[in-house]
């Protein structure tokens, strides 16, 4: 057993894959000499040199397109966005150039590329730097979309993403970079990109979540158990495209209640899709209406007080779950 941060796990994943395959390189703003805006690429320049750890100008659309072109020629770029907020400048290349080309070329040209960086709300940076893009990318065929929570997930999923022959959108969270997790020794480090994980078993209500929302869900589950003996099952979705329908449905068949939590906006969010899938696949098993907890339907306010009000948290989840179980 070793204890490591999500930040170090991500770096280790990149370093290991770069050592294994010389076609893997890292490109983005401040990834080399600055060691990453959030220090995720700490030490990689020293290990692999300027040819493989490449600082770009501030030019998201340009370097995303360059990454895609190089991937079409068979390289395996890891494109780091300083945050996914800035990837909106580059989203044309993520969707139109990377995701669609295999199909448009009748299977001739694939694009083995990873677009990664912090997503969602890093706290007190206001509207333009606080947005979850999970549902944007999860909407688009041709992409795989994953969001790790633990350090082991961060490492195992990033290694799999780098080896995948398709474009992968890899959504990290700044608030998790410094969080430490135990990583068991001797386990297979590669993780499948399309599987959810049951983080805590329960029988009264299923709470689905991804990324930092898993933290809130686990805390809520503890509150529910301690305060009123409600047994919540927490599912860490991990993969947002494709969603692991089987895992969610199996859980709902057991608990008969589903509550999704996300830091994105509610409208057309991941929760909308989860609930649609549950209604389509497990309608008869539901004992109460499916529910969603999401960020308030406003651009993120700066003031910490208002921001707290806008974001999901364990308390909001626990209250909602109590209502669903008739204990509200």
């Amino acid at each position: 057993m070793s204890n490591t941060t999500v930040r170090a796990a991500l770096r280790d994943a990149m370093a290991e894959e770069m050592r294994l395959n010389k076609d893997v390189f890292l490109i983005g703003e401040e990834v080399a000499y600055y060691n990453g805006a959030y220090k995720v690429s700490q030490g990689l320049l020293a290990d692999f040199g300027e040819e493989r750890v490449i600082d770009t100008p501030i030019t998201e659309m340009g370097f995303a397109g360059i990454g895609v072109g190089s991937a079409m020629m068979g390289l395996r770029p890891i494109v780091e966005f300083m945050t996914f907020n800035f990837a909106m400048q580059a989203i044309d290349h993520i969707i139109n150039s990377a995701a669609k080309t295999l199909y448009m070329s009748g299977g001739q040209i694939n694009c083995p590329i990873v677009f990664r960086g912090p997503n969602s709300v890093p706290r007190k940076v206001a509207a333009q730097h606080s947005q979850c893009f999970a549902s944007w990318y999860a909407h688009c065929p041709g992409l795989k979309v994953v969001a790790p929570y633990t350090a082991a997930e961060a490492k195992g999923l990033l290694k799999s993403a780098i080896r995948d022959d398709n474009p992968v959108v890899f959504l990290e969270h700044e608030m998790l970079y410094g969080k430490s997790f135990d990583i068991p020794d001797g386990i297979n480090e590669l993780l499948p990109l399309d599987r959810a994980i049951v983080m805590r078993e329960g029988c009264d209500v299923t709470i689905t979540a991804f990324s930092i929302s898993v933290d809130y869900a686990l805390e809520a589950a503890k509150i529910l158990q301690d305060e009123c003996g409600i047994s919540a099952e927490v599912i860490n979705l991990i993969s947002l495209r494709p969603l692991d329908v089987d895992a969610v449905v199996a859980s709902v068949r057991k608990t008969n209640r589903i509550l999704n939590v996300e830091e994105g906006w509610m409208s057309c969010g991941i929760g909308s899709e989860i609930i649609s899938l549950v209604v389509e696949n497990a309608f008869d098993y539901l004992d109460c209406e499916p529910r969603r907890i999401a960020t308030a339907d406003v651009p993120m306010p700066y003031s910490g007080k208002l921001e707290q009000l806008a974001l999901p948290n364990a308390h909001k989840i626990a209250e909602m779950a109590k209502q669903m179980c008739g204990r509200g």
Binding site: F25, E51, T56, P57, T59, M61, G62, F63, A64, G65, I66, G67, V68, G69, S70, A71, M72, M73, G74, L75, D92, H93, N96, S97, T101, L102, Y103, M104, S105, G106, G107, Q108, I109, P141, G142, L143, K144, N166, P242
Partner: protein, 321 residues
């Protein structure tokens, strides 16, 4: 004739005629309803791709805009595969899933075909990045038009190509109309010839209606890109005879303007005259080539019309689900 042998010269003539006759046939099939959607014809600009591709090596890569049929044909993709793709058939180069704007050939290092104006410029720069990274000696020929030249991402790509010394030839095909907007109405400073200057990227200007001019100057440009591993812009003065796409009647320019270019600058007529004047060919030989190409094109049209549409099972292949 720039030291061209008769055999090579006739080969180039054949390629220009193929591009021309193929697209005239495509226009016909469009009118008949065999081809639908967007279909952008290259007619008038044939000398550009034929000359540039002639100077490339097998390891080089090519990318262009949605006006891509001539690029496919010139690189050696079969007219049957291209016409079948236009008709949405299973045997098309993209299995009928791409259509006019999305043609590719991995075998010929042709990476599209791109329906987003200007997006191919960072992609082409990425191809050059890969050539340099792999040290394979290749360069990227990245074609784009005067319309794309006003997209911001083109300059993001110029900046990094110059900064990182990437082996990319930017072929700026200035046909003077970005869809219906004349360059004089969309280009500040009235010229695109200086757009590389702030980045220190040299620009070589050619007459795109003169195959020999494009041949000799693109040879120099490609040599420079390959030996220096630095970007060069080839600014090509050219002209498209047809509308922006099949649905465009091109009322934004006078018929007289188009007729005047056809009469005085047509690249095929011009090269034909060069060949005859230099006694590399006589009219009969050239007529015979045209007849042979017309037969190939006719066969391609028949082949494409008769070919089956994709199987329903193809709907969900070639994509990660």
């Amino acid at each position: 004739m720039g030291g061209l042998s008769a055999e090579v010269a006739l080969g180039l003539y054949r390629k220009m005629v193929l591009a021309r006759l193929f697209e005239e046939k495509a226009a016909e099939l469009y009118t008949l309803g065999h081809i639908s959607g967007f279909c952008h014809l290259y007619i008038g600009q044939e000398a550009v791709v034929v000359a540039v591709v002639h100077n490339l090596l097998a390891q080089d890569s090519v990318v262009t805009s949605y006006r891509d049929h001539a690029h496919m044909l010139t690189l050696g993709v079969s007219p049957n595969a291209v016409m079948s793709e236009l008709c949405g058939k299973a045997i098309g180069c993209s299995k009928g899933k791409g259509g006019s704007m999305h043609m590719y050939s991995r075998e010929h290092n042709f990476f599209g075909g791109n329906g987003i104006v200007g997006a191919q410029v960072p992609i082409g720069t990425g191809l050059a990045f890969a050539h340099k990274y792999k040290k394979d000696g290749g360069i990227s020929a990245t074609f784009f038009g005067d319309g794309a030249a006003n997209q911001g991402q083109v300059y993001e790509a110029f900046n990094m190509a110059a900064l990182w010394k990437l082996p990319v030839l930017f072929v700026l095909e200035n046909n003077h109309y970005a869809m219906g907007t004349a360059a004089i109405r969309s280009v500040s400073g009235k010229t695109l010839k200086t757009r590389g200057d702030p980045f220190g990227i040299p620009t070589i200007c050619v007459d795109g209606m003169d195959l020999l001019d494009v041949l000799s100057k693109s040879r120099d440009a490609i040599e420079r890109v390959r030996t220096s591993s630095e970007p060069v812009i080839l600014h090509v003065d050219t002209y498209r005879y047809r509308g922006h796409s099949m649905s465009d009647p091109a009322t934004y320019r006078t018929r007289a303007e188009v007729e005047n270019v056809k009469k005085t600058r047509d690249p095929i007529v011009r090269f034909k005259n060069n060949l005859v004047n230099e006694k590399l060919a006589d009219i009969e030989m050239l007529d015979k080539i045209e007849e042979e190409v017309a037969d190939i094109v006719e066969d391609a049209a028949k082949f494409a019309i008769d070919a089956p549409f994709p199987d329903d099972r193809e709907l969900e292949t070639d994509v990660v689900l």
